[in-house]
Symmetry: C2
Subunit: 199 residues, 2 copies
Amino acid sequence: MATSEQQQTASRPGGRSARVLAAVEQAATELICERGPEQISIPAVAARAGVNPTSIYRRWGDVHQLLTWVAESRLTSDSLPPDTGSLRGDLRRWAQLLLEHISTPEGSASLRTVVNAVGDGEVRDRCLRRRVDQIDLIRARARARGEKPPATGKVMDQVVAPLHFRVLFGIEPTDAACARALVDGLLAAAPAVDSGQGE
Amino acid sequence: MATSEQQQTASRPGGRSARVLAAVEQAATELICERGPEQISIPAVAARAGVNPTSIYRRWGDVHQLLTWVAESRLTSDSLPPDTGSLRGDLRRWAQLLLEHISTPEGSASLRTVVNAVGDGEVRDRCLRRRVDQIDLIRARARARGEKPPATGKVMDQVVAPLHFRVLFGIEPTDAACARALVDGLLAAAPAVDSGQGE
DNA sequence: ACCTTAAAGCCAATATCTTTGCTCTTTGCT
DNA sequence: AGCAAAGAGCAAAGATATTGGCTTTAAGGT
């Protein structure tokens, strides 16, 4: 669940601190899912986590930064796309896993939060990079097999974007079939493009 | 700018009330752009609008509902897509206008706000419907000319979704060329599909 | 012009969040 | 084991946000 190692240089990451970190992350996640991001306060998170509010204020600053931190740690914690033996299979499986990951209550709440981290373009960039890296891995594997994968930008536009759009706007359905259809549409449209990169 | 007529049945929408409504909308918009949605409070909006905080509390309830109301009125206030004489031209022009509309500071802030209106699926639906209606208008015009427009769902997935995704995640560029490229990609992929509806 | 009353304004009371200075605990090191 | 210091807990002060009772304004109808 990606518990720590990103907030600060962690000059003392042991026992108690780690416990606080974990308790806060879980409490915040629960409250986000129960009440939505708008209805959360630091005192509330602290109470649920069994931690002193002051500790949260000192470590994270304000609710917004806390939520952003939780959201990012969630969005960048999914696993690598499995190798299924073909480009199409890889993309289908990956798209399906991605959709599952972002359409859970925690996932969609995280998405909303990250999108709202206005001033903080870096957070959004790190979340995007995760997707780009996954796509590039799949593309590299495809090329190694002799297949011609579509440009990364195309995958972002035609698969990642629609999936995120659906989740963010609550458009049904968001199931495996829909992920699969998007991938098939992409491969049908640009069957053999090998331009080096997208974006 | 869609000032009123949606908040309540408005048993007394005249003079002073209308003035308050407009002042609050403008003040909220300004503050959102200056500080971001997270840093806004009702007292702050009231001060900027030259209105008593109590009036805002009584009319809108809380900051979240106020922001959602402002965002929705913005997102549903763009003009109808102009008729350029061809499907491709209509889609290009419309996509470009849409992108301009949502990539302004006010537009992207509204998008973030609406997306964050978690409990309120209705708000998101009304904003989506706006897009669907625009697409359907373009499709109807195309059919009247004898052209075969792509399904609404395809347009949503391949044009609306990528545009919103780019704006929400701050992916550059978000210019006319990019809107145009998405439309051309869509028309190249599904040149002559006339399935009744998408979605 | 005059009434009625929805809605705005005012102000005080209350609740809630945030900060600050301090002490206490316990980690990581020697 | 014992030490220095990072970081957690505590409590009181300070700042902000929210609510409620009441007065005042002015819109919409007669």
